[in-house]
Amino acid sequence: MLIQDNLLLTRSNPSGNGGIQFLYRVKDYGLTAISGPQEEISMIHWEVEVVKYQNPKTAEFEVCHTTELADKTLKFYSDKSLNEFLQKSFQYFEELDSLEKMLPEES
C-alpha cells in the first residue's frame, strides 16, 4: 500500500481505463500515481507523473516534465520502490517551493 502522507485524493482512474489514481500534493507540486488493469497480476505497475497544481483550492494540475525529479513518465513495479521515491520527492518539493519563493516575481 502506498504511503498516506500528503495524499490529496484517491479516485478511480479518471481516464476511464480502470484502476486507481493517487494524487499527492506538497505546496504547488505533487505526483500522480496510476495503477491500471493488466493481463497478468505480475504486470501490474505504477505510472507516475510529476505535476504542478493550478489552483490552491482544487485538484487541477498539469503534468510537469521540467523538474530535476523526472523529465518523463516514470514506472515503478513495486509499492516499496514507489514509496521510497515519494519520500524523496516530498522533500524535493519542499525545497523547490522555498527556492521558487526566493525568485523575484515576474512583472
Binding site: 500500500m1 502506498l2 485524493l9 484517491t10 479516485r11 478511480s12 479518471p14 481516464s15 476511464g16 481505463n17 480502470g18 484502476g19 486507481i20 495503477s35 491500471g36 488493469p37 493488466q38 493481463e39 497480476i41 501490474i44 483550492k57 482544487t58 485538484a59 487541477e60 509499492d79
Partner: protein, 410 residues
C-alpha cells in the same frame, strides 16, 4: 489412507500430497455471526486486484463445492479458487466440461443442500443460460461470480455489462459491484441473503471485468480466521435432495412436469412465489450492505444514478462539479434484483435532472429506473453517456453530458 484429521470431507492428506498431520485451512477457521463479520470485526487494508478480493471473500465464505469453466476475465479468480482448494478452504473443486455442464452440476450440488459457488463471464453466461434460468425455480441458493465482458459481435474481451440484462427477469438475486471492495463484501452478503428460508434463491454478484478484476484497489478485509456459518440444507424453502437414499427425487413436484391444466396454475404460482422471494431478500441486503443504495448529496437537483464501474466515474464527476460550486447528487444502486424502487424514489424526490451513465449498449439500468419513476417523479431522465464493447468512460464525458443536460432542461 487416513482421513484428514478434523476434516468433515473425504480429502486425505496423502491424496493431497500433504504432510500426514495436514489440516484443511477451513477446519482451522471459526464460524462467526454474519452481522459481526460484516459490521464489527476489525479490518485490514490490502491493495489487491478484484480477483484477489474474490479469493479473500471465498476464503471466508465456507464454500462446500466450487465448479467452473475458465473464460476471460473470470479465469484469474477461479485460479485463485484453486489455491483455496489446495489450502483446504474450499472442500471440493473441479473444472467442468463447459458452462452448460458447469451450471447443471452446480445446480445438482446446491439441490443436495451444500453451499455451491461458480463463476463465469459474458459468453460463458450466455452458453449456460438455460441451466441458469432454471436455478430460481429449483430454489437453489447458488452463488455465482460474474465478471462482465462483451458478449455481442464483433468479438471482444473488454468490459461491457450487457449480459446483466439477461438475468433481470430470471428470479435471480443480482448485485453489481463498483470496485474491488464490493467484490469482497457483496458475495458474502449475497450468500447469507440467498440462503434465508424465505428467500432460498441463487445470487449473482456481477463486476465489470478487467477494470476491477485485473486492477488493484484498496480492500478492507476481515481476519482470515473467521468464516460464515455453513449452509444448513434443510433450512430452506424446499427440502434438499437426500442423496444418501437414492433414487433422489429430482423434480420438486411431479405435477409441474406434466402438461395438464393444474401444472399451468402451479407454474404461475411457483413463479409468483420466486419473484416474491426476490422482494423478501431486500430486508437482508439492507442490513448486510447498510442499504440497497448509497446516496451522495441528497438535496441536489441534478442526479446521477449508476451501478458498477460507472459509479466510480460518477463519483469523480460529482467531486469535480463540487469544486466548481455545483452540487450534483449520486445514487449508487447496489442491488439490481431486488430493485431498490423505494430507496431511489426517496433519493431523487427533489431532482430535476437525472443522468444514467452505463457500460452497455442496451441501457438496461435506464429502462429499470424509468419503469419505477414513471409517473412518480418530475425529473427529466436522460440515458447516457453509454459506452460499450470495451470503450472507456472518462470523467470528462460525464461532465460534458451534465453540462449539455442543463442547457437542454432548464
Amino acid at each position: 489412507m487416513a482421513n484428514v484429521k478434523g476434516s468433515s470431507v473425504c480429502r486425505t492428506a496423502v491424496d493431497e500430497g500433504k504432510p500426514a498431520d495436514w489440516v484443511p485451512g477451513g477446519e482451522k477457521q471459526t464460524v462467526v455471526d454474519p452481522m459481526k463479520m460484516f459490521h464489527e470485526l476489525p479490518r485490514e487494508m490490502q491493495f489487491i486486484t478484484g480477483s484477489e478480493a474474490a479469493r479473500e471473500s471465498m476464503r471466508r465464505a465456507n464454500i462446500d463445492i466450487a465448479i467452473a469453466y475458465p473464460i476471460t476475465p473470470q479465469s484469474e479468480s477461479m485460479q485463485q479458487a484453486g489455491y483455496l482448494y489446495d489450502e483446504g478452504y474450499i472442500k471440493e473443486y473441479y473444472r467442468a466440461e463447459e458452462e452448460i455442464g458447469t451450471f447443471s452440476a452446480i445446480s445438482g450440488a446446491s439441490r443436495a443442500g451444500v453451499r455451491a459457488l461458480t463463476a463465469t463471464s459474458g459468453p460463458g453466461l450466455m452458453r449456460g443460460m438455460e441451466a441458469v434460468s432454471s436455478w430460481p425455480g429449483a430454489r437453489t441458493p447458488i452463488i455465482m461470480l460474474n465478471m462482465c465482458r462483451v458478449i455481442n459481435t464483433p468479438l471482444a474481451i473488454q468490459p461491457d455489462n450487457i449480459e446483466m440484462s439477461f438475468l433481470l427477469n430470471t428470479g435471480i438475486l443480482l448485485l453489481h459491484a463498483e470496485n474491488q471492495q464490493d467484490f469482497y463484501d457483496y458475495p458474502l452478503a449475497a450468500i447469507m441473503a440467498s440462503e434465508q428460508v424465505d428467500v432460498t434463491l441463487p445470487a449473482v454478484v456481477s463486476v465489470d471485468g478487467f477494470f476491477c478484476t485485473h486492477a488493484r484497489g484498496p480492500v478492507r478485509i476481515t481476519p482470515e480466521e473467521y468464516k460464515l456459518p455453513p449452509r444448513d440444507g434443510w433450512r430452506s424453502a424446499v427440502p434438499a435432495m437426500d442423496n444418501e437414499n437414492p433414487p433422489a427425487r429430482i423434480s420438486r413436484d411431479a405435477p409441474i412436469q406434466k402438461s395438464n391444466f393444474i401444472s399451468y396454475h402451479m407454474h404461475a404460482s411457483w413463479q409468483q412465489e420466486v419473484f416474491a422471494a426476490v422482494e423478501r431478500s431486500a430486508k437482508y441486503f439492507d442490513k448486510y450492505l447498510g442499504g440497497l443504495v448509497e446516496v451522495i448529496n441528497p438535496d441536489a437537483e441534478d442526479f446521477i444514478i449508476a451501478s458498477g464501474c460507472a459509479v466510480s466515474q460518477a463519483r469523480e464527476a460529482v467531486r469535480q462539479e463540487g469544486e466548481q460550486g455545483r452540487i450534483v447528487g449520486l445514487v449508487k444502486v447496489k442491488t439490481i434484483r431486488p430493485f431498490p424502487t423505494t430507496s431511489i424514489l426517496n433519493a431523487v424526490k427533489n431532482a430535476k435532472r437525472i443522468l444514467i451513465p452505463e457500460f452497455n449498449q442496451a441501457g438496461w439500468l435506464h429502462k429499470e429506473v424509468c419503469s419505477v419513476l414513471y409517473g412518480r417523479c418530475n425529473a427529466v431522465i436522460k440515458d447516457g453517456p453509454r459506452v460499450f464493447g470495451g470503450m472507456t468512460m472518462p470523467t470528462e464525458m460525464i461532465l460534458e453530458w451534465l453540462e449539455e443536460f442543463r442547457k437542454e432542461t432548464k
